[in-house]
Each structure stands twice: as C-alpha cells, then as structure tokens.
C-alpha cells in the first residue's frame, strides 16, 4: 500500500479498496446459502452457524489479497472448515478431526433445535425418507447431508470430511441404496433392484 493510499485510507476508502470490496462481494454473496447450510451442519445450532459464517467472512476478507479469484466456494468452504476446527480445538482440545462426520444431525432433530417448526422444513414431508435417513450411520448420514441436502460436490464433501472422493462416492451409494430399499419395501419406487 502506498503512502498516498494509507493517507486516503485514514480518511476513508481508496479506489483500490473499493475495487477489492466490490470483487469480494461479488465472489461471496452467492455462496452465503451454502456456507450457512454447511455451518449449520457443523455447529448443530442456528446461532452458532451464523457466528461461524460471520467469522469465516471476516477471515476471508482479510485473506482476500491472497485468493486467486478461482472457485470461491471451495476457498470459502476451506476457511469455514478451518475456522470451525480452530474454534472446536479451543473449546474441546480432546476432539479429533473426524468430528465433522459425527456432527450430522438427523433432520428432525435439526429442525427442532433450529427453532423452526418441522412443518416449515418442507411442504411435503416424506416420513419414510426421513426415517431412513435417521437410521443411517453417522458416516452415511454425513455424505447424504453434505451432497444431497447442502449441495456440495463430491470433492467438496470429501474435503469437509477429510476422506478420499472414492469414499464419498461409495458411502453415498450405500446410503442411497438403504433409502431405496426402504422405499421399495414400502412399495413406493417402481423398478425392482
């Protein structure tokens, strides 16, 4: 930053600042929903999720000079994950890095903890699918949550869970197969397995 820039900055913003701030807004605003969803998934609490995303935004803004401008979602998810882990380590130094996999709540519990009435979670509740998801193991529920409910790609989910992409694919396949088997047992899906 030049002396002129610093002088201007003390009075307000420089043209460079405004350009950076504009680019930051453009890159980040469209990613807020996915950050909020994943943050909610990690923290299990609506207020904590909002705080986590806000901390993530501040860290992202401070590091924006070092961001190459490509794939903002992947960049932001990495900051979100690291911010969450740092916070967890401070509070609970005994927790391990696979904490994420064990922090995927079943959707019914998530809705109530959120203070959001279950009926507001979706206008067409599907009790069989909800029950199936609730009966999955934490690992299987984690991939379903990140990919199907939060909209992450396989690679993004693998990064969040610290597992290879192939593991995400196989867990996703098994988890969906269990839901499918439940639906077929109820005579709901068409084709035989």
């Amino acid at each position: 930053m030049s002396a002129d820039d610093r002088a201007q900055r003390s009075e307000g913003t420089t043209a460079t600042d405004r350009d950076v701030e504009q680019r930051f807004r453009e890159q980040v605003l469209s990613e807020l929903p996915v950050l909020l969803r994943v943050g909610r998934r990690l923290t299990l609490d609506a207020g904590d999720a909002e705080d986590l995303v806000q901390d993530t935004l501040v860290r992202a803004y401070r590091a924006f000079d070092r961001f190459d401008g490509r794939y903002p979602r992947a960049w932001l998810l990495t900051i979100l994950r690291n911010t969450h882990r740092n916070a967890l380590r401070k509070r609970r130094p005994d927790l391990m890095d696979d904490e994420v996999a064990h922090r995927i709540p079943d959707q019914g519990a998530a809705g109530r903890a959120d203070g959001v009435p279950d009926a507001a979670l979706h206008d067409e509740l599907d009790p069989i699918v909800r029950t199936s998801l609730g009966s999955l193991s934490a690992r299987h529920r984690a991939v379903i949550a990140l990919v199907d409910l939060d909209g992450l790609t396989y690679k993004e989910a693998a990064h969040m869970l610290d597992v290879p992409v192939g593991t995400v694919m196989s867990r996703l396949h098994r988890a969906r197969a269990k839901v499918r088997a439940q639906l077929e047992a109820e005579g709901i899906t068409g084709a035989p397995r």
Partner: protein, 98 residues
C-alpha cells in the same frame, strides 16, 4: 486435492456396456462426470430401456432425499448479507497490507 472439476478416477468407455453404465449412474445423475463422459452415459440410456429404468429409479430416490433439505434460515442469510455489504463501509475488517 483440488476441489473442482470432474473426478479423475472415473473413465467411461466410448460405448459403455450396461454394467459400466449402472456403475457410473450415480455420478452421472449428480453431474460429476467429465464433459466427455456424460454424453456417453446419456447415449446408452437413450438406447437401453433397462438402464433407463434403473436411472429413473435412482433419480427418484435422489430427488426424494433432496426434498428433505431443511429450509434456509432467511433471517440469518439477510444478516450475513448485511455483514458482507458493510465490508464496503467504515466498519470493514482491516486487511493486512499486501
């Protein structure tokens, strides 16, 4: 690990057989195949009723799961949008000098 782009581990033959198509169905329906490979799977599904039926069932299962997506906290989203907007004002966090 790069977080973007198709999965390097998936390679689809030019004219995949049913076994290969079924194995790749999930990635195909999730939009995770490379641009080169997706049309190969789609082409097979257009010609093979059995695989097309399997794809329809997998699609239905995925859709039903995705309909369980919890509603987004719109209040929080609005407040966070405001946070980002304020980064252009005097309350913005300080970025280190480059």
């Amino acid at each position: 690990m790069t977080l973007v782009g198709p999965n390097p581990g998936l390679r689809i033959s030019e004219e995949p057989v049913c076994l290969e198509v079924v194995a790749a169905l999930q990635a195909h329906l999730d939009g995770e195949l490379a641009e080169r490979d997706a049309p190969r799977i789609a082409g097979h599904l257009a010609r093979c009723a059995r695989c097309a039926s399997e794809a329809a069932t997998v699609r239905e299962v995925i859709d039903r799961i995705r309909r369980q997506r919890p509603a987004l906290d719109l209040g929080a989203l609005g407040r966070l949008t405001g946070v980002v907007e304020r980064f252009g004002g005097p309350d913005r966090p300080v970025r280190p000098a480059p």
